[in-house]
């Protein structure tokens, strides 16, 4: 029998005198194998993987357990080795990639220096030799110009490129084991697909083992041979990936599966009926920002969105999907009147079917106050969008106070009612936000948005800060409320799978322009634009038999100038959005 490379047995870790956050965790990693540690936030998966390198927070104590590491015929317990030995193992035999490439690299040191440091520490190499090794690694992880990367600072690169640099740093010493802690969570889906592909390739090349920490079953299906599912510090289920993903035995794993958002398999869609009762109409909206950075630099203009036309029918959900920097949030801000479109653009809002249209981009003070009652927003991060110093009741009644609605008692009654709507209890009114979990806080922000009886709700990534099982509940709640009071949603998201279930119409944005627009069924049945295809292909599916098609992803996710002939453009000189079939618009040269 082969000795496992890493053998974790009965590991328990706790903070202070509190209960252990990791309890009796055991698993084994074979040489060359990929093991996925799956769980939601607070499951203890990150603490577990950090304990392997012993880079835990100072207050954490390892209460029991053994972590045996066997390489080159020798076995040692990583938990009891001297600090000096640990330092010689870190980065050399076991290395690690972290979640946030933006913050995990020092902003003040050049990448060549930061990556080369590993070799200076662990290898007896001459500087020239070390530099060559680093440059080779840079090339290996997919940088087109390694010498330029050597001289670059991390902030000069995009998130995906920084994560490549992180991977280069972890790989440069050719470790036996790579620990990747949510390596792609902070990245866009297409970038995620490419980074995962890269890790897999490198693994095949070097034969290293990988521990992949993730919350995403789709990522697991694409990467792992063995799966360990964790919940609340305990191992729930453990086994080969096809078995665990194919027929999950434990209830918790099943629950995770049910909640995982998926792009549905659709048959040819039926034509949705359209009406011309538009609640919101963005016409020809563009936005350019001029950045003035310091007195001795030239101002830079940035196009956030370009000639966007969007219309939202009453009672429906319009989803704007795009990766970071696609201009989707700018569109939402313009729709809410928080930002003015460039001259020539128009935003029209019709509060009820028979009411007059209001021009959002040219409102009087009085119209604005009125509009703010009718259009509300749900924000992305429920942890920072509620004031920690206001009780729930204050937070929920404040909008009504500002608009001078009702008496004190009526406001309180309304707040209690809204809490019941979002599935919370009226007795929670006197609590502070910190007493609530992420999902409950997002319910609170939804309740707050609803207190003014709005007709339009703009949801800016309302679920992207939440765990999958909670995301599912919030989406259900939003659907439920929409149908109950006939709300209309402008739904901003980076995740096609989330949008798939809630939207009536999806607009896919890339670099400030809409590249494809259709009802979700049409879009998923017959995506035409290479970028849409890439987004769909990059979505990891929790099914081991359907790996990500990297070719499709890299074809569509590149710059618009690298797209196939029919779709190609440079800068903002994009081809027109053409209606290829009724209700299905694609930006292409016809």
């Amino acid at each position: 029998m082969v000795t496992p490379l890493l053998d974790v047995r009965d590991l328990s870790i706790g903070f202070g005198s509190a209960d252990a956050v990791v309890r009796d965790v055991s698993f084994q990693v074979m040489p060359g194998e990929t093991l996925a540690l799956v769980g939601e936030s607070g499951s203890g998966k990150t603490i577990t993987c950090r304990s392997v390198l012993r880079i835990l927070p100072q207050t954490a104590q390892i209460r029991s357990g053994v972590i045996n590491y066997s390489a080159g015929g020798k076995t040692c317990n990583l938990l009891t080795e001297s600090r000096r030995t640990m330092r010689s193992i870190r980065g050399n035999q076991i290395s690690m990639i972290f979640q946030e490439p933006m913050r995990s690299l020092s902003p003040l040191h050049r990448l060549g220096d930061q990556v080369g440091e590993v070799l200076r520490l662990h290898r007896d190499m001459r500087p020239g030799e070390a530099k060559q090794t680093v440059l080779d690694t840079f090339e290996r992880v997919g940088f087109p110009d390694p010498t330029r990367v050597w001289r670059s600072y991390p902030f000069e690169m995009s998130g995906g490129m920084r994560q490549r640099a992180m991977i280069a740093m972890a790989m440069v010493a050719k470790p036996e084991l790579l620990i990747a802690d949510e390596p792609t969570t902070a990245l866009d889906v297409t970038t995620q697909a490419q980074v995962l592909g890269l890790i897999k390739e490198l693994q095949q090349e070097t034969g290293m083992a990988v521990i992949l920490v993730t919350h995403d079953l789709g990522v697991v299906a694409n990467m792992a041979e063995t799966v360990v599912v964790m919940n609340k510090g305990r191992v729930m289920e453990r086994g080969p990936a096809p078995a665990v993903l194919g027929s999950p035995a434990h209830g918790y794993t099943k629950k995770l599966f049910a909640a995982a958002p998926m792009i549905p398999e659709v048959a040819a869609p039926a034509r949705a009926e359209t009406s011309d009762d538009l609640i919101l109409d963005l016409r020809n909206v563009s936005k350019t920002y001029t950045m003035r950075a310091g007195g001795w630099r030239k101002p830079v203009t940035i196009t956030a969105c370009h000639e966007v036309n969007l219309s939202l029918q009453r009672g429906k959900t319009l989803a704007v999907v795009g990766e970071s920097g696609s201009g989707k949030t700018t569109c939402a801000r313009i729709a809410l009147g928080a930002e003015l479109p460039d001259p020539g653009g128009e935003v029209l809002f019709r509060p009820t079917k028979d009411a007059d249209q209001v021009k959002i981009n040219a409102m009087s003070q009085q119209e604005r106050v009125h509009f703010q009652r009718q259009a509300q927003m749900v924000f992305q991060d429920p942890y920072s969008s509620l004031s920690p110093r206001m009780r729930v009741q204050q937070a929920l009644t404040e909008p009504m106070e500002i608009h001078q609605l009702g008496t004190r008692a009526e406001r309180r009654e309304k707040a209690a009612e809204m809490l019941r709507w979002v599935g919370l209890d009226a007795s929670m009114l006197s609590r502070y936000p910190h007493a609530f979990s992420g999902g409950q806080r997002q319910r609170l922000s939804i309740a707050r948005a609803l207190t003014l009886d709005p007709v339009l709700l703009v949801c800016d990534e309302p679920t992207s800060a939440l765990d999958v099982s909670v995301q599912e509940q919030i989406l259900c709640l939003l659907e439920d409320i929409r149908d109950r009071v006939g709300l209309s949603y402008l739904f901003i998201s980076h995740d096609l799978a989330v949008v798939a279930r809630i939207a009536d119409e999806v607009a896919v944005m890339r670099q400030g322009v809409i590249v494809e627009q259709a009802p979700p069924d049409t879009l998923f049945y017959n995506p035409r634009h290479p970028y849409t295809c890439a987004l769909i292909a990059a979505q990891p599916e929790p099914d081991v038999n359907r790996p990500i098609d990297l070719g499709l992803v890299s074809q569509g996710a590149g710059k618009p100038s690298s797209w196939p002939e029919a779709f190609r453009f440079e800068g903002v000189a994009a081809p027109a959005l053409t209606e290829l079939e009724p209700g299905h618009k694609v930006r292409c040269h016809v």
């Binding site: 880079i55 913050r103 003040l108 600072y153 950075a293 030239k298």
Partner: protein, 342 residues
Amino acid sequence: MMFLRYAIYRFITMLLTLWVVSILIFVIINLPPGDYLSNQIAELRATGQAEGVAKAEFLRTEYALDRPIWEQYLIWVGMAPGPQGWYGLIQGNFGWSFEFDRPVSEVVGDALWLTVLVNLAAVLFVYMVALPLGVIAAAKSETWVDYTAAFVGYLGLATPNFLLALMLFYYGNKYFDLPIGGLMAPEFEGAPMSWEKVRSILVHLIVPTFVIGTSGAAAMMQRLRANMLDELSKPYVETAKAKGLGPSKLLAKYPLRMAFNPFVADIGNLLPAMVSGSVLVSVVLGLQTIGPSLLTALKSQDQFLAGFVLMFVALLTLIGTMISDLLLVLLDPRIRYGARGS
């Protein structure tokens, strides 16, 4: 190349700032009613010394104090012809001190350079003390090392400077035979530079440097400690740890480098705080800096002397800020490449 352009740009803005400061200084000095000479004339009249009045009246015209304030200002700066023609600050004429009845340049004279010397020594002291203590306090946070450093620091902040000065003089003289008061032994005053004089100045500098620098060092140490603690919890520190970097190397290379920015940016703030803070100390310690002259000049409305001293302090401050800005650009690539990154 870009750095050179920035340096030139920064220098020009410094000159503009200095110009604005000169207006402010002049206006503020002239805010109290009357001036040195009109006060003197009133006093002479009251005591019936008519011949003195004539001389004072002559000086009033000679130094254009009878003209409107904006004209006085332009003449002082040297942007308009005065009674002696184009001859103001720009042309190198610092004005006349009525109090001492000598040109300002003679009154301040050596004191200028001694001021610069004392304050430079104090700034160096601040950095040399604050840097290691702040780093150690952060690295060993919430241990006895940290607490001791904090205790000594707060003691330094809380002790009045003049008290500290008297204590140091007493004990320094008693145990280490340090000189009391002054910036050099009396026999070297006015004497040409020599090794003995330099040595005498250095020995005399010890106590003033300590006194002026202590509170600054204590404050800076606490700031550095706080910055370091912030940086220590950043993910890139963890990355460095996961590479296998040893603790002291790690500390020096990553978090310290990041915490250094506010440290450098403080140079600009430190200089004026020291110069103005050292006025009283200079009086108490009998240092021949410009501090005491500033105090007398302000009390007696000796406007050209006061104006010049204030301008000098402002210049020091602006040079300090400029140096720290330029250093920051050199130290932090994010500032240097800000435009390229976006």
